[in-house]
Amino acid sequence: MPWQPPSPIQIFQLLPKTNCGKCGEPNCMAFAVKLVNFEATLEACPPLIEDLKLRPIFEKLKSLLAPPVREIELRGSKKIVKIGGKYVLYRHELRYMNPTAIAIDIDDSMDRENILKRIEIVEKFEYDYVGQKLKLDAIAIRSSSNDPKQFARIVQFVAENSVLPIILCSLNPAVIEAGLNVLTPPHKPLLYAATKDNWREMAELAKRFEAPLSIASPGNLDMLVSLSKTITEDIGLQDVVLDPGCFIGPGGLSYTLKAYSWIRYKAIYDLWRYVGYPLIATPIAVWNYLKSDITEIMWWEAIMALTLMTRYADLLILHSLEGWTLLPLVMWRFQLYTDPRKPVAVPPGLREIGKPDENSPVLVTTNYALTYSIVSSDAEKSKVNAWLLVIDTEGLAVDVSVAGRKLTGEKVREAIKSSNLEQKVKHRILILPGKAARMQGDIEDATGWKVVVGPAESSEIGKFLEKIWLPEKLKELTA
C-alpha cells in the first residue's frame, strides 16, 4: 500500500479546536482540510505552537503529516533550498513537492576568474515563463586538487561571492573537513559523499558540523541501504541524501533508471525507512564516460538530467552552463512540479491591450496561462490597441482546445455575452488564432460575428493588424 494522507477528521481531532481563525481559515476543520491537502502547514496555527503543553500533540500531528521521503534543507549565505519531502510516486496522486534543485559545479583547480564567471552565470540565470522566474539553485564545489588547503581557499572564495547553498564534493574526509571549517552560519552545506570506504569519517564530520550527508554507492543497492541503515539508525544522522550512481550506455542507463525508481518505489509504497531520503543524481558523470565532442557530451548530460528529474531525483549536479542545455530542464521542471489538480490557467474574460476603443480589433485566445501570457506580451510588444477575449478552455492551449472541442462557437458566444463586448465595440469582427482556423465557421454560426483567421504565431499579430485593420479592408470584410 502506498503512503496515504491522514483524514481531515483525524487531524481535526488533534487540533486545539479553538476556531480562532488565526491561521486564516474560518475554523479548525477547514484548517485540517488544508493541512491534509498540503496547502497549509502546522506552523500556521498559533495556539498549537505557542502552548508548550501542546508540544506532544504538535509532534504527533507533525509525524502524521510527515512525508515518506524526508525533507532536507540546504542553506547558503542568503538562499535556502529544500529537497525531498515527497509523498507520491506519480504526480497525479497528489503533486510533487520541492522541485528538483539544480547545482552547477566549480572545481578547486579553476582559476578565480573562471570561478567568478561561473558563479555569475549561475546566479544570473533566469528565464521568464508564465510569469515565473526560472532559476538555478546551488553550487557544487569539487576538488580535483585533492589538497585540503586549496579546497578551503576556493570554498571560502565561493562563499564570499555567492549567496547560494554549497555542496562540498570529495571522497577525502580531510578535504571535506577543510571546506567545512571555512563555512560559517547560516551556511549549511551538503556533504558529498560517504561511501563504503570513508563512511565513518564522513559521518563523524556530518555529525560534528551538523551538515546533511550524501551516501553514494554506485552500482550497489545493497551497500547503499546498508550504509543508509548504519548512518541513519546506528549513528543517528537523519539528514542524509542517497546516490545509487549515474551511468549511461548499455547496462548503465537501465541500471540507473531501475535504481532510482526502485528506491523511490520502496520509500513510498513500502514505507521502507532506509530509502526514505532525497535522491541526488550526478549527470556531470557523463563528462567522464564520453570522449566525444563537447556538444554531444552536453547533449547527453541534458538527457540524463531530464530523465532523472522525471524519475525521482531531488537534486542534480551538472557541469554544462550552456543556456540551451539548461533551458528545457528548468521549463520541464516547472511543469512537472505544478499541481495537476489545478491547470495552469488565467481567469477568462475581456482584457485590454494598450488603450482600446470601440473601433479596436478583438483578438480571441484561450485561458491556458502560457498561451495567454505569450499572446498578451506579443500584442503589447507590437504596440497595438486591442481587446483580448480570453475564452475558458479549461486551461488548454489553442491547438489542444480545438482538438478537444474546448474552443467552440458556443464558448465564444458565452464569452461575448458575459463580457458585454457588444457594447464595447461597434464592429462585429473577431480575430481567431491561426491554429484555431478550423473553428471559423462554427464560431461565425454561433455568434453571428464575422471571424477572420489571424496568424498562427502571436509574434505576427502586429504585422497582421497593420495589413488588415484598415478602413477599406474592414468595409470589404463586413460587406
Binding site: 497525479h92 588547503k149 570529495s170 550512481g245 547496462g251 525508481s261 550526478t282 528545457p328
Partner: protein
C-alpha cells in the same frame, strides 16, 4: 528486555569510549603534524591519562583551521606519527565494536499487475497479404515502463517513424537544413529517412487534402500512398488533415485501395462519423490511432465505439503531447494514468500509445532566435524534440512520429541502453567526476 537494556548500556559505554579514543587519535595525529584544533570538546571520564609526545612540534601557526592528513606515502613514520597510528588503530577496533557496517539487502519492489497492453502490429508482409519487408510490433506491456520488475523488457520496444508531408509547409530551419530539396518530394524525403537517418516507419501527413488549404481530392492522396508503398518497405502511417469530414473520405479511399498493407490510420476522433469510416477499415487489416487529447474519459468512449468494428489489437491510442513548456505535463500525466489503469485491468485503455513528437516544435523556444546565451536554434530545436520524446518514453509511449533525424538517432541509442540488462561493470567510474579536470564550458 533486560538483556536489551544491558546491551544498550554497553553500547553506550563503548560509544563513549570510542569518542574519547577518536579524540585522542585526532589530537595525537594533529600533534604529529604540528597542528592542533579543538572545538566543542567535552570529555567526561573517570580516569583519563593523556600522554602527549614531548616534541617541539607544536608550531606557532595554530589558528589555521585546516587539518592536513598525513601523507600516505611516508616511507618511515616519525615516532609521533607512529603513536598516532597506534591510537588510530585502537579507535578503529573500538569503533568497529560500536558501529559496524550493517548488512542489509535491498528488497525488490513487488507490485502486482493483472492487466496487459495489447500487441499491435504495424505493416503487413507478403505472407500477410502486404508488401512490407519489415513490420513493427508494439505494446504487450505487463508492468509500468522502465521499472525493471521482470527482467528488462516488459513488452515490445518502442519504435520511431519519420515525418513527411505531401506539400510544402512551414518547417523549422533545423529540419530544412537536414533534408534540403527532398522536402519538395515526400518520396525522396521518405527515402532519406530510411536510407540515411534510421527511421523505422514513415508517417505521411496528407496536409494538402485539407479543405482550407488545397482541398486535394482523395485520389491524389491515394497516389502518394501508392508511390510511398513502392519506394519504401517499412510500415506507413497515413495522416489526414484533421478535418473530420474530409478525413473520412480520404481514409476510406486509401483503405479501399490498400486493404492488406497494415496501414496505420492517423487518426480517428469523436468528431468524426466513426461508423462511416470504421465499416471500411473493418474489412481491411489497417490499424487505427484513436485520438483523444488529454482526456481519458473520451479515450474510453472512442475505444468503446471503435470496438464495434475493429478488433482491439488493431487500435492505438494518442493522448496528445505538447512540447516542453507547452502542456507537456498534461500529456505525460495522462499517459501515466492510462498505462497504470490498463495494468490494473482497464482494458479500454490497454493500447499502445502514439506520440506526435513534432508537437515539440510548437514550443517557441524550439525555433525562435533568442539571446545568444540560449544557444543557436539549430541545436535547441532537435534537443527540444528529443527531450519531449524522452518524457513520453518514460510515461510508456510506444510509437513516435518524429521530425528531426537527430531525435531518432538519440532515441535509438536510448532504446538500446534502456532495454539492455541493468549491469554495472565499472562502478567507481561514477565518482570520477569528483576529482577530474573537466573542460570549462
Amino acid at each position: 528486555m533486560s538483556m536489551e537494556k544491558k546491551d544498550e548500556k554497553q553500547e553506550l559505554e563503548a560509544r563513549k569510549q570510542a569518542n574519547i579514543y577518536s579524540l585522542l587519535a585526532k589530537l595525537t595525529e594533529a600533534l604529529a603534524e604540528g597542528i592542533v584544533e579543538l572545538y566543542n570538546v567535552e570529555i567526561e571520564a573517570d580516569e583519563l591519562t593523556i600522554i602527549l609526545p614531548e616534541t617541539g612540534a607544536i608550531a606557532p601557526q595554530i589558528p589555521i583551521p585546516i587539518m592536513v592528513s598525513p601523507p600516505k606515502q611516508t616511507v618511515e613514520a616519525k615516532p609521533e606519527a607512529a603513536v598516532a597510528t597506534a591510537v588510530a588503530k585502537t579507535v578503529e577496533v573500538v569503533a568497529k565494536k560500536v558501529v559496524e557496517l550493517a548488512k542489509v539487502a535491498f528488497e525488490e519492489p513487488r507490485p502486482k499487475y493483472s492487466g496487459r497492453v495489447v500487441e499491435v502490429k504495424l505493416g503487413a508482409t507478403r505472407s500477410e497479404g502486404g508488401t512490407r519487408e519489415k513490420t513493427i510490433v508494439i505494446g504487450g506491456h505487463t508492468t509500468p515502463p522502465y521499472l525493471y520488475l521482470i527482467g528488462y523488457g516488459s513488452g515490445h520496444t518502442p519504435a520511431f517513424g519519420g515525418d513527411t508531408f505531401d506539400m510544402k509547409i512551414g518547417l523549422p530551419r533545423a529540419v530544412r537544413q537536414v533534408f534540403g530539396d527532398a522536402l519538395d518530394n515526400p518520396i525522396e524525403w521518405a527515402s532519406l529517412w530510411i536510407n540515411k537517418f534510421g527511421a523505422e516507419a514513415i508517417d505521411i501527413h496528407l496536409v494538402s487534402t485539407d479543405p482550407t488549404i488545397r482541398d486535394a481530392p482523395p485520389k491524389e492522396a491515394v497516389k502518394i500512398v501508392d508511390m510511398l508503398l513502392q519506394s519504401v518497405k517499412v510500415p506507413i502511417v497515413v495522416g489526414g488533415s484533421g478535418n473530420p469530414e474530409k478525413d473520412v473520405e480520404v481514409f476510406r479511399s486509401i483503405i479501399e485501395a490498400y486493404p492488406s498493407e497494415g496501414l496505420v490510420i492517423n487518426s480517428l476522433n469523436l468528431d468524426m462519423k466513426l461508423e462511416a469510416i470504421c465499416r471500411h477499415i473493418a474489412k481491411s487489416n489497417a490499424i487505427v490511432i484513436n485520438f483523444s487529447p488529454m482526456d481519458l474519459d473520451k479515450a474510453e468512449q472512442i475505444n468503446r465505439k471503435v470496438y464495434e468494428w475493429i478488433p482491439r489489437n488493431r487500435i492505438m491510442l494518442d493522448l496528445n503531447i505538447g512540447g516542453i513548456g507547452y502542456g507537456t505535463e498534461y500529456g505525460f500525466t495522462v499517459m501515466e494514468r492510462a498505462r497504470l489503469s490498463a495494468l490494473i485491468g482497464n482494458e479500454l485503455l490497454a493500447h499502445p500509445f502514439n506520440v506526435g513528437a513534432a508537437n515539440a516544435w510548437g514550443a517557441r523556444e524550439a525555433w525562435i532566435t533568442m539571446d545568444p546565451y540560449w544557444g543557436p536554434k539549430e541545436i535547441r530545436g532537435p534537443l527540444w524534440e528529443t527531450l519531449t520524446c524522452i518524457i513520453c518514453l518514460l510515461a510508456g509511449a510506444d510509437y513516435f512520429m518524429i521530425l528531426h533525424p537527430l531525435t531518432i538517432k538519440v532515441l535509438r541509442e536510448m532504446r538500446e541502453y534502456l532495454f539492455s540488462e541493468p549491469k554495472i561493470s565499472d562502478p567507481d567510474k561514477a565518482l570520477q567526476w569528483l576529482s577530474s579536470k573537466l573542460p570549462i564550458v
